[in-house]
Amino acid sequence: MHKKNTFLQKLKAWVNGEDTLLHADEYIAKRKQPQPKQWLRSPSVEKIKSNRALYSFLCVLVAMVFITIMMVVVSELPTFGNASNPGNNEVMERYLEKGIEETGAINFVAGMILDYRAFDTFGESNVLFLAVICVLMLLRRDSKNISAAEEKEIAEDEALDAVDHKSILQVGAKYLSPVIILYGIYVILNGHLSPGGGFSGGSIVGGGLILYAAAFGHQSVQRFLNFRTFTWISVGCLLTYFACKSYSFFTGANHVGYTIPKGIPGHILSAGFILPLNICVGLIVACTMYGFYALFTKGDI
C-alpha cells in the first residue's frame, strides 16, 4: 500500500476501501472496537445503563425535579372546585343552557362531544380504527410472521381447547354474556339520555363477546363475526359517521339548510344525529374490542 499523505489521497483511499477495509466485514468488526476518537462519541446509552445505580439515580432525580416543578405549578393553579375558575366561562354556559335546545341531548357531555366539538370525536374514532388496522398488520397471520412451529403450536392449542370442558366458564358465559351484551346495547342507545354512550356501551358489548368467545371458542363467534363482517361493520359504521358529520359540517359552515329533526328531548328517538352516531361508535368499539382479543390470542378474526 502506498503512503497516503494528502487529504485527497486519503479520501480516495477511503472511497476505494483501501484504507483498512479491504474487506467490509473486517472493517465493521474493526469499527466496533474502541477507537482513539472517543471524543466524537456521545456517552452511549448502553454505557450509562451498564452503570445501573447511576442511571437509576439520574432517573429518580429527573422525576423528582419534574414533580417538584409541577407541585409549584399546581399550587398556583386555580382553586379546585371553585365556580369562578377560568374554565367555567361562557363556553360552558352555552353548552349547559342552550345544549338541549341546540342538540336535543339531555346528556350535555354527549351533546358536546358529538355535536359542538364533533370534529375531535371524528378524529378519535379514526384513531380507534387505525389502531385495529395496526394490530391487524402486526398480528394477522401472513407469510412473513408465522413459522411452521407456531402453526403447530396453535393447532395443538385448538385441539386442547376442544377437549377441555370448561363447564363453569361455559355455564357462566351462557347466562352472563346475553345480559352483558344487552346491557351494553342499553348503554349505547341511552347515550344521549343518561351516562354512557357509544364508547362505554361498545366496550361492554365487546366484553360480552370476549366472554362468549372464551367460553365457546372462536368458531362460535365466527359464525356471525368473521373477518368479512368485521370489515364491513367497521367500514360501514365509520362511513355512516363520516356521512353524517360531513353533512352537518358542510351545512353548518355554509349556512345552508340543515333539516334533522331534534325530536322531544328525553325521548329515545331524539337529539338528531347523536343516536345514530352513538350506535355507529358503539358497533365499531364492540368489533374493535373483540378484534383485539381475537388477534392477540389467535392471530385472526
Binding site: 472511497v15 476505494n16 469499527r31 378524529g123 384513531v127 398488520m137 401472513d142 412473513k144 359540517f249 355554509n254
Partner: protein
Amino acid sequence: MEHINWIHNIPFFSIFLAMFCGIITPLLKKGSIARMVHTGMLCVVFCMSVLLLLNVYQNGESFTFMMGHFPAPWGNELRAGPLEALMAVTFSAVMLLTTVGGASFIAHDVVPEKQNFYYIMLNALFGAMLALTYTNDIFTAYVFIEILTIASCALIMAKGTAQSMVGTTHYLVISLLGSGMILFGVSILYSITGQLLFPQMKEAIIQLVASGQYTFPLLVVTGFVFIGLAIKSALFPFHSMLPGAYQAAVPTSSGVLSGLVLKSYILLGIKLIYSVFSVDVMLQLKIIDILFVFGLAGMVMGSVYAMRETRMKRMLAYSSVAQIGYIYMGIGMASRIGMVAACFHILAHAVTKSMLFLCCGQMVEDSGGKEQIYYLRGAGFRNPLAGIGFTVGALSMVGVPLFVGFISKLYFATASVYAPGKMAAVLIVLGISMVLNALYFLPSVIAIWTPVKKENETQTRISVSPAFGVCIVAFVFLNIMLGIYYRPFIRIIEMGIILLQ
C-alpha cells in the same frame, strides 16, 4: 346554493377526502387499487390546494371555517391562509411524488395481503397532516397528533422484519412521551385560560400576562407544549428514535416521515407561536431562546453523528436531525425573516430529503441490499437516475447555489442580521454546519460515482420502473426550480406569517 364560497370549503374537503379514502381502503381487495385511490386522492388534494393558494394569495386574506353549526368558542374551527395553503400544496406534491416513486418498494417490501393496510395508513397520515396544518383548535391538534403517531409507527413497522419492530418500539415510546407532554400542557393551558380555540386562547394569555396572573404555570405550559413538539419533531437531544426507525423502514416510509411528518409538527409549533402564545409572550418566557440553542446544537451534532455513520440510511437520518436544527434555529431568531427562512427550509428539506431517501433505497436495493457506503461504490453507474437524484439532493443539502438548499441557508444568514445578539452564533454555526454537511455528503457522492471493478460479477443494468424515473426527474426539477425561482414562495410565506399574527 349560490352563496356558498367553494374556495373556503377546500380545507374541509381535503381533510375529509383523505379520511374518506382511508376508511374505504379496507374494502379494496388489492394493493394496486388502493394505490390508485391514494394517488387519485393526492392529485385531487393537490389541485384543490393550488386553487386555494392562488385564491388566498391574490386576495391576501386568511379565513376561518366553522366545523359545524356553532361559532368559534363553542365549535371546532379550521383556519387557512397563504402559509397553510402553501404547506398543503407542498405536502401533497411531495407525498404524491414519494409514494408514486416509491410504489415499487411498497410492492416489494410489504406482504401483498397487507398492502392495502399500508395505503390506509398513508391516507390517514396525509389527512392528519392536513388537519394539523389547518386546525385552529388545540385539542383537535392533539387528536390528530395521535393519529399521526399511530400512522407513522405503522408505516415503519409495515416491513415486518424484526429490526423494523425494534425501530418502531423505540419510535413509539418516544413519540408517546412527546404526546403525553403535549396533552399535559394542553390540560394545564385549558385550566388557566378556559379556552381551546387558538384566537380565544391568545386573548386569554395576553390578559394573563398583562395582569401577571399564573406566570409560572404559563411558563411551564409553554415549555411542555414545545418540548413535546420538539420530541415529536426529533430536535437534537430527542433524536435517538430516528436512525433505527428510518433504517429499518420501507424507503417510501422513511421519505414521507422525514420529509413531511416531522415538518407538520414544526408547522403546528409555528402556528402556536403566532396564534396562541404570540411572539412577545414567547420572548418574555425565553422559551424561544431555548429552542434556538437546541437548534444550534442540533445543527452541529446531527452532522457530527452523520459523519461517523457508515450506513447510508442512518447517515440520512442524522442529516435530518441537523436540518431540523436549522429550522428551529430560524424559529429561535424570533424575527419575521427568520421565520420565513425556517418555513422555506421546511419546503426545501421536504423536497430534498424525500428524494434522497428514495434514491438511497433504490441504490441499496441495486447493490444487493447492503447499505454500508462501502458496498454502494459504483451504485451511480448501476442506476444512473438514482445516482443523479442522490447527487442533486446531496448538493442541495450542502448548499450549492442553483439548488434549493442554498436559498434557505442564504435566508438564514440574512435573517441573522436582524437578530441582535444572535448573529455571531448563527453565522459561525451555519458555517461549521455547512462544512460538516459537505464533509459527509460529498464523500458519499464520490463513493457512488466511483467505478468498482469486480472480477466475478457481470455488470447488469437494473431496469428502473418508469414511475420512479418520472418522480426522480420531477424532484430534481422541483429542486432546481425552487432554487432559481424562489421569490414568489418567499413572498407567499411572508404574507402568510403576517396574516397569522
